[in-house]
Symmetry: C3
Amino acid sequence: MGARSLVVLLFLMLILSFSSAYQGKKKQYKPCKQMVLYFHDVLYNGQNAANATSAIVGAPQWGNLTILADKFHFGNVVVFDDPITLDNNFHSKPVGRAQGMYIYDTKNTFTSWLGFTFVLNSTDFQGTLNFMGADPIMVKTRDITVVSGTGDFFMHRGIATIMTDAFEGEVYFRLRVDIKLYECW
Amino acid sequence: MGARSLVVLLFLMLILSFSSAYQGKKKQYKPCKQMVLYFHDVLYNGQNAANATSAIVGAPQWGNLTILADKFHFGNVVVFDDPITLDNNFHSKPVGRAQGMYIYDTKNTFTSWLGFTFVLNSTDFQGTLNFMGADPIMVKTRDITVVSGTGDFFMHRGIATIMTDAFEGEVYFRLRVDIKLYECW
Amino acid sequence: MGARSLVVLLFLMLILSFSSAYQGKKKQYKPCKQMVLYFHDVLYNGQNAANATSAIVGAPQWGNLTILADKFHFGNVVVFDDPITLDNNFHSKPVGRAQGMYIYDTKNTFTSWLGFTFVLNSTDFQGTLNFMGADPIMVKTRDITVVSGTGDFFMHRGIATIMTDAFEGEVYFRLRVDIKLYECW
């Protein structure tokens, strides 16, 4: 191996050195983890205390705590503890709970603001994932932020594409949550 | 090129190799994206239902839902859907909506806690940015966290320097938001 | 130094180049900053206005604003501005304030959802840290997310292990917060 070959090798390594550092800076645009989960919300309406998984706890002046308010529910604050399932069946064995709140925040369409946590406790996953973001309910799919997590999801970040999978009156809805994590630790 | 020159070159590459890996770890302290936006909040007071963009939805025991409470509004929870504009003119064409909530959370000064989303829908930007943080209102400029985003702001992180740009009684305020993103994807 | 030794050196550097780029991608699992802080919450009960640091501002239909609701306080929203201390003594000089809200969100056990900010203002630290996450109160230690920060904690991320350090009736509790930051800037 002559000095010339060595110089060539050195330049190759130089390029490699740059490109691998670049990999350190640039993140991948395909998820390092992905999973689809469903959660089910049964809103307390004054008559379903046993089954309800959520309750209105804040309302505007024109509202109350058992019926969602006029003007697209603007101002209603709802606290929830909803079962999470692997499929769209309300009666499937839960793999965790979705806990937190949603707020109806628009006067002229159905829009909510979400702040909640998935507390997962299954054979596949042990840990939490925190979510926040705007939810323009009438749009078919909406992206919200997966802020970070703990346990199996320690420090993970990503986005979640949510979809209203079912909607029954003003008592039940089911959300399909496609979690895509782009930063895994 | 002798063996000695090669050894020198190797050491140079060694240093380079370290420093470029360091770039992968160390983030830049100048924003990769920056923009200044304004949003406008008109609080419902029982008489301005048509114009109001926000409403009191929670209050302490000594408060109510049309007048901000005594003790620096401690305990008031406000839900909002405020227009975002490029300049400080309330009548400018909105480029999006600021949606979420603020909470007055101090008994002896004006301080609020913010959790909200910018839903941007303009020729320049399509996407959302989520914010959270403490807002010591009486301080001229305050830094809050830009948690992450979606769309054009997919996975971005940063801080926002906010400033009360106008304040009229307890009905209207305008916030100047200087968004500085330090992690762009 | 012969060509053979150089080749060996080159391979060593090749490995080094990979491993240092790997360091750029892979984050460390030991904290880059760690600190233990305490905060103290005195809930308003209708009779302790002078001392209270928090107040119930939202309740389900079966609740009110001076007594935590039945069913494990499900639906109670509490706003707080609590002193932060370096030790477990309520009377120690505060190094900052914990500001935000907690929500009791489960019907059959004590669980809350947290969204708050540490506003630190001491000789050691100037800046804010934002927290969110589920708090299964009956579990000895719980991990929540440190979303990000400002000032000395500009863009930092991590987790916090929280522990109920004291609990007196439904008026006072003290939380021990072990903040572990894994991404420092």
